[in-house]
């Protein structure tokens, strides 16, 4: 008979505990310091700050290029006004296009990271459930082994009782000899 298994023999080693602690500390650090930054990026991606800045720059560039050196001659150029109007409209359109590109890219980057975290979480959950399944199967196998051992023990006890009775009350009879041999062989069958 072996001794009962000791729970402490199955506890995590010191390095496993430290590894789990470091992983948890890193996770907490990430959640405290990086997760808020991602939320800031999300909010920034929804704002119009970039658009305003780019449109201001486009407008300034256009005016700088077309109106920075006014002359009397230019006042007489009746087509110049139309050119300025077209140029300004075009540059504002370019600025809007760039701003929307930046906004969309920022939004999809934020979502990619957020979804990546959620996907990591889901994959973590799958791992956790696999661990739980593995535990459940081990528990079930252990229970079955205990049940089998219990059945075997019952068989042994019952056999020993019947055999003992024959041996006691009719030790020299054929039945007594047979029962002794029979019940000696029985435990090896029922014990699996």
């Amino acid at each position: 008979m072996g001794s009962k298994p000791k729970k402490q023999d199955y506890e995590a080693s010191e390095e496993e505990k430290v590894s789990a602690s470091v992983a948890k500390a890193n996770y907490d650090f990430f959640k405290q310091n990086y997760a808020p930054l991602l939320k800031d990026m999300r909010d920034q991606s929804m704002s119009d700050d970039n658009r305003r800045a780019l449109r201001g720059r486009a407008s300034a560039d256009t005016m700088q290029a077309l109106t920075s050196e006014p002359t009397y001659m230019k006042t007489q150029n009746v087509e110049g006004t139309g050119d300025l109007s077209q140029a300004l409209g075009g540059q504002l359109g370019v600025a809007d296009k760039s701003a929307l590109g930046i906004k969309n890219k920022a939004a999809s980057n934020v979502l990619g990271v957020a979804r990546g975290q959620a996907a990591d979480a889901a994959s973590g959950m799958a791992k956790a459930s696999r661990l739980a399944t593995s535990d459940a199967l081990t528990r079930a196998r252990n229970k079955l082994a205990v049940k089998n051992a219990r059945n075997a023990a019952i068989g042994k006890v019952a056999g020993a009782t019947i055999g003992g009775a024959f041996e006691k009350f009719a030790p020299d009879s054929n039945l007594g000899k047979f029962s002794k041999e029979f019940f000696e062989a029985l435990p090896s069958q029922v014990g699996g």
């Binding site: 009746v78 006004t81 409209g89 359109g93 959950m125 019947i162």
Partner: protein, 197 residues
């Protein structure tokens, strides 16, 4: 839940932050529970902080007309600004335009504004389509990654469930066989004993 202040001094809550060791490391007494808690928390954080944002982006990628609306508005504003700039310059130099020049300038500005508007609207329609498609394809890529990993995880869950069922069926069969074997042995012993008495 443990409250904390992040590097920017904002108050937040750390999920599953347990007691601290001397080295400042948290104690993880039940890694499985901690792991499950973190993964659940991550999903809940996503739903709380990013689900609406994601739905807005999907809607924007399919319905956004901001560039076109803006181009329509800008062409009018640009015409007005150009007219005002011309007026200020004429005033600055004390110049006079003849009625014919003024008329020509107005016509030129109107023509340029109209043509510019048409050009801008045409450009902005193309740019809008490009921007929306780029955003949509980014979103679809994100969604596809998610779809792939979700199916893989569901496959794992199904395999686990199947393994559990097989193990249970096998255990039931083994247990029944064991019981019959024990009962049979005892019964045969009893019958033989009865014949020999």
């Amino acid at each position: 839940m443990e409250r904390y202040f992040d590097v920017r001094g904002r108050l937040g809550e750390a999920a599953y932050a347990g007691q601290q060791t001397n080295a400042g490391l948290p104690v993880v007494s039940d890694p499985q529970k901690t792991f499950a808690g973190i993964t659940r928390g991550e999903y809940e954080d996503y739903v709380k902080d990013y689900r609406d944002f994601e739905l807005k982006q999907i809607e924007r990628a399919t319905t956004d007309t901001s560039l076109i609306d803006s181009a329509r508005e800008d062409s009018k504003v640009a015409g007005r600004i150009a007219g005002e700039v011309a007026g200020r310059n004429v005033s600055r130099y004390g110049a006079q335009l003849t009625p014919a020049q003024l008329q020509q300038q107005q016509r030129g500005l109107q023509r340029a504004t109209t043509l510019g508007s048409i050009q801008s609207l045409s450009d902005s329609r193309i740019a809008q389509r490009e921007a929306n498609q780029a955003l949509l394809s980014d979103l679809i890529n994100i969604g596809q990654d998610l779809n792939r990993s979700s199916q893989s995880q569901l496959g794992n869950a199904a395999a686990d469930a199947s393994a559990r069922k097989q193990a249970y069926d096998s255990a039931k069969a083994q247990s029944k066989a064991q019981t019959y074997s024990t009962a049979g042995s005892l019964a045969s012993a009893a019958i033989i004993a009865a014949f020999l008495v």
